[in-house]
């Protein structure tokens, strides 16, 4: 099996704050990340795809097709945005890196079969680097 991993970048701000907790509880739980004005990161998103090697093209996935999917469904909507206000899903859920991964997975999965028909190309995992020290991974297959 061959896995192909492609790296994307977006710069975005967020605030970790849950309506289910009091002001004090939010500060205690999220610390600096609860700052009312938000703060930002240069996120690095790694999308890992697996599948059979196409004997004709010599490719597991057409990288420019993957680029177009990730750009149109994720990067364009997230880059240079305040996620809590500007990205629909985060009006409902806290934009922790864990929740960002779930949203990215949902957005990619919704288009996956029409972009990569035939069922052989799998979204294997998604990794999100919030900072150089904080990396989150969602295994999707």
């Amino acid at each position: 099996m061959i896995r192909v991993t492609r790296r994307y970048r977006f710069a975005a701000s967020h605030r970790l704050h849950s309506e289910q907790f009091s002001e004090g509880e939010n500060r205690a739980l999220y610390g600096k990340c609860n700052n009312p004005h938000g703060h930002g990161h240069d996120y690095v998103l790694e999308v890992c795809v697996s599948g059979p090697l196409d004997p004709v093209s010599g490719q597991v996935v057409n990288v420019s097709t993957l680029d177009q999917l990730v750009a149109s469904r994720v990067v364009q909507d997230f880059d240079h945005k305040y996620m809590n206000a500007d990205v629909r899903e985060f009006q409902e859920v806290v934009p922790t890196s864990e929740n960002i991964l779930r949203v990215v997975e949902k957005r990619l999965a919704a288009q996956w079969n029409s972009v990569f028909p035939g069922g052989g190309t799998h979204l294997e995992s998604i990794r999100l680097r919030e900072t150089r020290r904080n990396v989150f991974e969602l295994r999707t297959s």
Partner: protein, 138 residues
């Protein structure tokens, strides 16, 4: 336990198939189909798996691993035009996937009968694109 050794080589390639027209190759491979080729600084990560030898405390001798990678990969591929100078890329398109698999095939025999086995080959074509290959058996 896993140990990984990194190596680099610079090479040029063209991604195109002789059975396709220039327009079809361009549609499939984009800029990489340029007939005159283009190059990359490939970064290779070779991972071995095994138990540390109780006497040496090593999974595998890293100096020896460096030599194996050098002979099997760096010497034949560094500063080469893969399509013209490295088989089987006269017949097989040197996509990152195919180059990673070829590197695996060239490295694996060196570890036959050794306590460490070749666990993974990771090939970075650019900082933002890499391929992992762990052999045909998986």
């Amino acid at each position: 336990m896993l140990i990984t050794r990194k190596a680099e080589f610079s090479a040029s390639h063209v991604c195109a198939q002789s059975s396709l027209t220039p327009e079809q190759n361009r549609a499939l491979y984009g800029l990489a189909a340029n007939p005159n080729g283009h190059g990359h600084n490939y970064v290779l990560e070779v991972t071995l798996e095994g138990d540390p030898d109780p006497a040496t405390g090593m999974v595998f001798d890293l100096k020896q691993l460096k030599e194996i990678i050098h002979k099997a990969v760096i010497e034949p591929m560094d500063h080469r035009f893969l399509n013209y100078e490295v088989q089987p890329f006269d017949k097989v398109v040197p996509t990152a996937e195919n180059v990673a698999a070829e590197i695996w095939n060239r490295l694996e025999p060196s570890f036959e009968g050794s306590p460490a086995r070749l666990q993974n080959v990771r090939l970075y074509e650019t900082d933002d694109l890499y391929v992992d290959y762990a052999g045909a058996r998986q």
